[in-house]
């Protein structure tokens, strides 16, 4: 049962219906505001009654998100949101369950739950806000911070090699893997919709700016002057082209490498790779591409959702054995009667 299938006719909802009565307490200028706004814009369009949405989060700045959504919400403990949400989704496949996490919450303390939720393909839509820093604890390096990062806890520079969230998700065979940026409203909305429509689990890395502790972490990708040359927009069925003049692209090299080439001098558009969301090896390669940085859906290929498989086992058992007879269960095995 996909979320889309359970949607029922509902009075027309608007963005306002999804704004809770709580004051938003993120720092002024935080990238989270934009993400919240796009989520509140997309939710009413999905045709799902508001009461069917649940937002589950862990701990961190991003994890305050559920308080601001006028839906059901659970602000839990550090790193555990995917585990809590898994139990909820398995018990209640009729709900549309969204997880909001961050690079520290989801990839450090909660890394184990994240990878297992994705490999099981529990039908959770997981939004990982990646700002490459610990914001709530006031500025320590995170598992996505670059080597050499100077922070409060790394005055001589971090010696930690960072996680690549997309590669992590690909590495555990997540069935839907995408990346977008907090300020790219259209891309963000498109991907939220795609994640919702995807049957099963979805992982979205949202590059997000912490203007207090790590301002400009993604400036290279958001600066209007340069972003056309640094960002590669992934579009299914279209050649992998980018650049201000649309004159650069990706080509498969002779040794299987992913080469950035400039069109012209005998290289034409037909030489470029065409993006295919179902092509897992291509998605693996794109996951490791930094320059340009791909934005969009890396990989989307449906496979059975965990909660559906489990529900099928329950249904099969009930069909075969009927609704359980508890008194008969008590009597299982050898019994004897004492008069």
């Amino acid at each position: 049962m996909s979320d889309a299938a359970t949607a029922t006719a509902t009075p027309k909802l608007t963005r306002k219906d999804f704004i809770s009565d709580q004051d938003v307490r993120w720092c002024p200028g935080c990238g989270d505001y934009s993400i919240l706004a796009q989520v509140q814009r997309v939710m009413p369009e999905l045709g799902v009654p508001r009461e069917r949405f649940v937002f589950v989060s862990g701990i961190g700045c991003s994890s305050r998100f559920p308080y601001y959504m006028n839906t059901y919400g659970f602000h839990s403990i550090h790193g555990r949101a995917p585990a809590i949400a898994s139990g909820l989704k398995i018990a209640r496949p009729d709900l549309s369950v969204w997880v909001v996490t961050g690079d520290g919450d989801g990839l450090s303390i909660g890394g184990n739950h994240l990878i297992h939720a994705l490999r099981r393909n529990v039908g959770l839509k997981i939004l990982l806000f990646n700002n490459r820093i610990y914001g709530l604890t006031k500025g320590q390096y995170s598992p996505t911070s670059e080597i050499g990062k100077v922070t409060k806890s790394t005055p001589f520079g971090s010696v930690d090699y960072p996680f690549n969230p997309i590669a992590v998700a690909m590495g555990v065979d997540a069935s839907f893997v995408a990346r977008t940026i907090d300020v790219e409203a259209k891309s963000l909305q498109d991907i939220l919709r795609r994640a919702y429509e995807h049957p099963g689990g979805a992982f979205i890395e949202i590059l997000q700016n912490c203007n207090i502790f790590n301002d400009g972490a993604w400036e290279r990708l958001t600066d209007k002057a340069t972003k056309a040359d640094t960002v590669l927009l992934l579009e299914h069925g279209k050649p992998l082209i980018f650049g201000k003049n649309r004159d650069k692209g990706l080509r498969l090299g002779a040794g299987g490498s992913l080469d950035v080439v400039t069109l012209g001098n005998g290289i034409s558009e037909s030489d470029l790779l065409v993006h295919d969301e179902r092509n897992r090896p291509l998605a693996y390669m794109l996951a490791h591409l930094e320059n340009p940085t791909p934005i969009g859906v890396f990989h989307a290929m449906a496979r059975p959702a965990y909660e559906d498989a489990m529900a099928r086992q329950v249904d099969a058992a009930r069909q075969k054995q009927g609704d359980g007879d508890i008194n008969a269960l008590f009597k299982r095995g050898e019994t004897w009667v004492v008069e």
């Binding site: 809770s20 709580q22 009654p49 508001r50 009461e51 069917r52 649940v54 589950v56 701990i59 559920p66 308080y67 959504m69 006028n70 839906t71 059901y72 919400g73 659970f74 602000h75 839990s76 403990i77 555990r80 585990a83 809590i84 949400a85 898994s86 139990g87 909820l88 989704k89 398995i90 018990a91 209640r92 009729d94 709900l95 184990n112 739950h113 297992h116 489990m310 086992q313 329950v314 099969a316 058992a317 009930r318 075969k320 054995q321 009927g322 609704d323 359980g324 508890i326 008194n327 269960l329 008590f330 009597k331 299982r332 095995g333 050898e334 019994t335 004897w336 009667v337 004492v338 008069e339």
Partner: protein
């Protein structure tokens, strides 16, 4: 070889002697099938109408090197024509399949007890592995017991000669020879075991034939040989009428949870991670899909409890099962459940600790962990089971309390209860206490932290209910609205509210049962799996005129409202525990009484004699 099942004349001429109770222990290598032998002997005894108590004792290693002391596996059974409470202190009969089993267990055999040994298992290599110089069966070193050696392996092989089984497969049938022989010796019916063999090995008919033949061969050997002049009989016990089955504590927990969820009319969700000795609950529940049971083998202990809490938030009965080390990992999430006030059942099948400790041995040292082991003031109800069959009622009660008071509840059992077994008087589902569940659906005047005036429980709302959208979480709540609040006075008010809610569970605690006189010289206060040993010891001493009584606590938090008054009726209070004195500490702190401890921390349950001696010493002191 033809096998007759009728008793021939020579055998019938043998003398039958009555015994009130017999304690038998089967011991061998962990590959020798001693657990199976013990369990089948238990079934036979239960069907013969005896009261029974069992205690398996097996190594933590799945297959320690064969023949070594580390690999010895044992199963003790007490069967009786009387009402019994324990698997017995010291065995009357010890069956050993090799020298290592002899060495590990011989010290426990009663003076004058019967030692039944497989002579073939005592070859030079095995004697050496067990560290024996010379054969103890033959060199007179075991003078205090009656030794009967039987060529079990050899006779097993000869019985199976014509079946073309490999030597290894044929040898593995020898435990059925031991079982058959003991079944004859104690006049047990072997038909249930034959039926069991047919069912268990139905896919390999040659093993049905082999094991059945060997079982009968053992039985007939006892009947015909001159070695045994006497056959014993243990008459049926006078136990309350009803339909019975033998049940282990883990199995009873599983059934209690299924029954409670069914009574509540809700699905059951188990989030769990494998751990000794709790895994059998997960195994058993995973079979019960037709009851709407969802089992989720999580990636770790934390995910086990978190998924269960998520399921509870979704409006089903969330349960997690583990043992002490796993509970340590779960505590942060349990604390979240305290804060968000959702029903959750946490079952701790306690084992020896700290750390990995003694995974297959029993202990009851997690009481303080259960009551206090979370950050801050974090009250929750704690309930303990007293016997294997009582695990059913305890699990049912834990679920009922969790739902009624919207709170996590910790259910304490232990390795001894989990793997031990006893007859269970089957309840009728219709007779079990009601577990009403009313999900809030009315948006009028709704706030997530408005409390029921009687139980102080907040409303349970299923996500998906229109108009009741709300957010919960681990941050302190404003009284009533449940909004985030950092207000100092509110925090104090909410801390008290959480405590008062758990105290309110006292409304559900029945008057304390005092076994014995309500006043006297000494009261033995216990909890958990020590029940049987304490009950037997107290009964024994009362028969001898000692003014001693027993109280056994089901509810450890909150304590029964009348407990303080009960304690006042006695001059002395003795608290036997398989820990350093955890309940004793609580009793002293709560009631300012001079409770004295009797503590055993050996990974083994108390013997009745140890409790009786402890009571005598306390009375003298």
């Amino acid at each position: 070889m033809t096998v007759e099942t009728q008793v021939d004349e020579a055998a019938a001429a043998k003398r039958k002697e009555q015994r009130e109770s017999v304690v038998i222990r089967f011991a061998g290598d962990s590959g020798d099938g001693m657990q199976l032998t013990g369990m089948q002997f238990t079934t036979e005894s239960a069907l013969a109408g005896n009261d029974i108590g069992t205690l398996p004792d097996f190594p933590a290693e799945i297959r320690a090197p064969a023949g070594t002391l580390a690999g010895v596996s044992g199963f003790q059974l007490n069967f009786s024509s009387l009402d019994i409470y324990t698997p017995g202190d010291n065995p009357d009969v010890l069956v050993v399949m090799n020298p290592a089993a002899l060495k590990v267990n011989i010290g426990d055999l009663k003076a004058g007890g019967l030692l039944l040994a497989d002579r073939d298992g005592f070859d030079e290599a095995n004697l050496k592995k067990a560290g024996y110089q010379g054969n103890p069966l033959e060199n007179g070193s075991l003078a205090k017991c009656q030794i009967v050696t039987v060529d079990m392996t050899g006779m097993t092989l000869r019985t199976l000669e014509d079946l073309k089984l490999s030597n290894k497969v044929a040898t593995r049938c020898k435990n059925f020879f031991a079982l058959g022989l003991c079944s004859w010796l104690y006049s047990r019916p072997i038909e249930p075991t034959i039926k069991w063999i047919q069912d268990k090995f139905r896919k390999t008919p040659e093993l049905v034939e082999a094991n059945t033949r060997v079982l009968k061969a053992g039985y007939h050997y006892g009947e015909t040989t001159e070695m045994f002049a006497v056959q014993y009989e243990v008459r049926p016990a006078r136990i309350p009428p009803g339909t019975y089955r033998n049940i282990t504590g883990n199995s009873a927990v599983a059934l209690g949870l299924v029954a409670a969820a069914k009574k509540a009319g809700l699905p059951l969700f188990l989030g769990s991670y494998p751990i000794t000795p709790a895994s059998d609950i997960l195994h058993e529940l995973s079979y019960y899909k037709q009851f709407g049971v969802l089992t989720f083998q999580a990636e770790d202990e934390i995910a086990g409890v978190c998924s269960a809490l998520g399921a509870s938030f979704g409006g089903v009965i969330g349960v997690t099962t583990s043992s002490g080390p796993g509970i340590a990992l779960k505590q942060e999430a349990i604390n979240l459940a305290v804060m968000v006030e959702l029903p959750l059942v946490i079952c701790n099948v306690q084992r020896g600790g700290p750390s990995t400790g003694l995974p297959t041995k029993t202990e009851q040292a997690d009481l303080l962990q259960a009551i206090f082991g979370r950050n801050s003031d974090s009250p929750l109800p704690v309930i303990a089971a007293a016997t294997p069959a009582d695990c059913f009622a305890a699990a049912y009660e834990a679920t009922r309390i969790a739902v009624k008071y919207m709170t996590p509840v910790i259910l304490l059992t232990d390795g001894y209860l989990a793997n031990g077994s006893e007859p269970w008087n089957l309840p009728r589902f219709e007779d079990l206490a009601p577990i009403p569940v009313e999900f809030r659906t009315d948006p009028n005047g709704f706030f997530p932290y408005l409390r029921d005036p009687k139980t102080l429980a907040r409303p349970w709302v299923r996500p998906g209910t229109p108009g009741l959208e709300h957010r919960i979480g681990g941050i302190e709540k404003a009284d009533g609205t449940g909004n985030i609040s950092y207000d100092p006075a509110n925090h104090e008010r909410m801390t008290h509210a959480r405590a008062r809610k758990v105290e309110a569970v006292q409304q559900d605690i029945p008057p304390t049962v005092v076994r014995g006189e309500p006043t006297g010289d000494l009261l033995v206060v216990g909890w958990g799996s020590t029940f049987g040993s304490i009950a037997a010891a107290v009964e024994q001493l009362r028969e001898q005129g000692t003014r001693v009584s027993q109280v056994h606590l089901r509810h450890l938090n909150p304590l029964p409202p009348d407990l303080g008054a009960v304690l006042k009726g006695f001059k002395k209070i003795l608290v036997p525990e398989m820990n350093m004195g955890q309940l004793r500490m609580i009793l002293r702190a709560t009631y300012l009484v001079d409770a004295v401890g009797l503590n055993k921390i050996q990974g083994q349950p108390f013997k009745v004699s140890e409790i009786a001696d402890g009571i005598r010493r306390a009375l003298e002191g």
